[in-house]
Symmetry: C2
Subunit: 327 residues, 2 copies
């Protein structure tokens, strides 16, 4: 990733510097530092899937870098679109360097995410394989922007259905995670039906990951998540527990009225928590996590005969860790 | 382009609707209309270059569409970054739909520009050719964002040199125009040395195009350009005539002081025009247009033996038209 995110000359040094700041490699004055850089789940999934599908994980490194850069591009632009001032306890790129330069730095990272994929050619991959990986990557980019559109459009709607929610997260979170394992399998030259199972695994893992996120956003332990307790309630986020409870015949109308009103007071939080409790929202989402985790495990079992057992086990462990995480 | 810019379902209809609005296909309420849509120079150059290099122009249609979509993506984001409220006499996308949705719609069009390129596969192109076209396209995306960074960073600088200016337009305007003819030749399966000449032609044409733009921005006829006379002076744009005059030993210091001060009054315009005149700025830029037009013509002459005469002549005519245009 560092080789891709390095500018050709001094005239554009700060353009690349903003991207490196976002990655946690530079400080606010664009001097080298080292800060927490996010979980790097996406490249890890890609490398493990490549190894599990019978390839050499190193051969997938360029694709893994491209997927992580795409994720980080989307964070730079999401922070602009959501008006977020901080990320990982640091000012966001737009907050620090201004919106025009940050928007363009995001576009730069979007372009460089594609550039990373051309590194696959250096690893002796056939042109049709590189092209297949790029095609999946491109469909992922399109799905990401559709998911982001849906997410933003939900904010202005009084009513969002549970199926609409699942369509949104399929784009915003699921598409990229599905692409990590699918592309890993493509790089490993796995046959199409095996590639499809790896994609299924990534998609289900992505869903479980997002649903766990929704649970942590409401019931997470502040000391572990690093976000304030019930942060998703205070920001009136229409996450799955809330949408499920809004569809409940008993508590739905009251909850919907609360969310349609002005900003919450901190004193409203216990009321919302109580309504979610009466609707059984947490139990419902936990059951959905279990269901989708089982689907992911099934996809893994389906490819076990054609896969490397050690890498496959590592994918299973990563799934369990992400689905049951506390932060 | 229309097939690429059509959404999969109703949930994202407005996301694609914003892109179609920008293209001039929909009105502010996302109902069908037809308004002037820009010059479509980029796809035209790509198709003509493909024909001239011995290919069938239709085979390059997906690439031509991708190049025009990339151009339009960059306009949507440039309008955000430059805080521009109108384009082609209509409200810009961000002005109409808000910055968050517009930024994301731009990302969507950026993604779909890549999607268009995969249409080359349907035209029976070999995977390595499609990949070669995509690689050029990717380098173009990177160069575009570098050029836009330089352009924005120039606004905050008191001193920009003429070489820095040429580096900026090479990214912001030149890279995309160079890619149109280079990709056209690649799609035509031209040999590498011929492809390189076609790229040279596009790059020189792009430079001539931008320099003419700089001339029109100061001395253009308001009735023909549709912009107010001397619009680039009023917006204090550091275009080549201004930078050239700033480097002039006699008028440079006074001009630099004027541009470093507060916003101009309309009464300052004649002063600036007089300083540019004393420095011979217009004659200098006109000579640069002639020089770069000659370079472009030389590139065309270099590939004449391997090219289709009729398409080559059309490229030459387009060059003359763009270098000498009045609007």
């Amino acid at each position: 990733m560092r080789s891709v995110l390095t500018g050709p000359d001094l005239a554009v040094a700060a353009h690349y510097g903003m991207m490196q700041y976002h990655m946690g490699w530079l400080d606010e004055n664009l001097a080298p530092i080292s800060v927490p850089t996010g979980k790097r789940i996406r490249p890890l999934l890609c490398l493990l899937a490549c190894g599990a599908a019978g390839g050499s994980p190193e051969s997938a490194t360029p694709a893994a870098a491209g997927l992580e850069l795409l994720h980080n591009f989307s964070l730079i632009h999401d922070d602009i679109e959501d008006d977020s001032a901080t990320r990982r306890h640091r000012p966001t790129v737009w907050k620090l360097f201004g919106l025009p330069l940050a928007c363009n730095a995001g576009d730069g990272m979007f372009s460089l995410a594609h550039t990373a994929f051309f590194g696959l050619e250096r690893n002796d991959m056939r042109a049709d394989q590189v092209l297949a990986a790029l095609r999946i990557f491109n469909q992922t980019c399109v799905a990401l922007t559709e998911g982001q559109y849906m997410d933003m459009s939900f904010e202005g709607l009084d009513h969002v259905s549970v199926p609409e929610y699942f369509a949104m997260i399929a784009g915003k979170t699921g598409a990229l995670l599905a692409a990590t394992t699918e592309i890993g399998a493509v790089v490993a030259s796995a046959p199409p039906e095996v590639v499809a199972e790896y994609r299924q695994f990534g998609a289900a893992l992505g869903r479980a990951f997002q649903l766990r996120d929704d649970i942590l956003g409401i019931w997470g332990d502040e000391a572990l998540t690093g976000k304030s307790a019930a942060s998703d309630i205070l920001s009136k986020k229409k996450s799955l527990p809330v949408l499920y409870a809004m569809a409940d015949a008993n508590v739905g109308p009251q909850l919907t009225r609360l969310y349609a009103g002005d900003l919450f007071q901190a004193t409203d939080v216990p009321v919302v928590l109580s309504l979610l409790d009466q609707a059984g929202a947490r139990a419902y989402v936990e059951a959905e996590v279990d269901k989708t985790t089982a689907e992911a495990r099934e996809a893994l079992a389906g490819v076990a005969p054609q896969s490397d057992a050690a890498y496959l086990a590592a994918l299973g462990e990563l799934l369990d860790m992400l689905a049951a995480r506390f932060s």
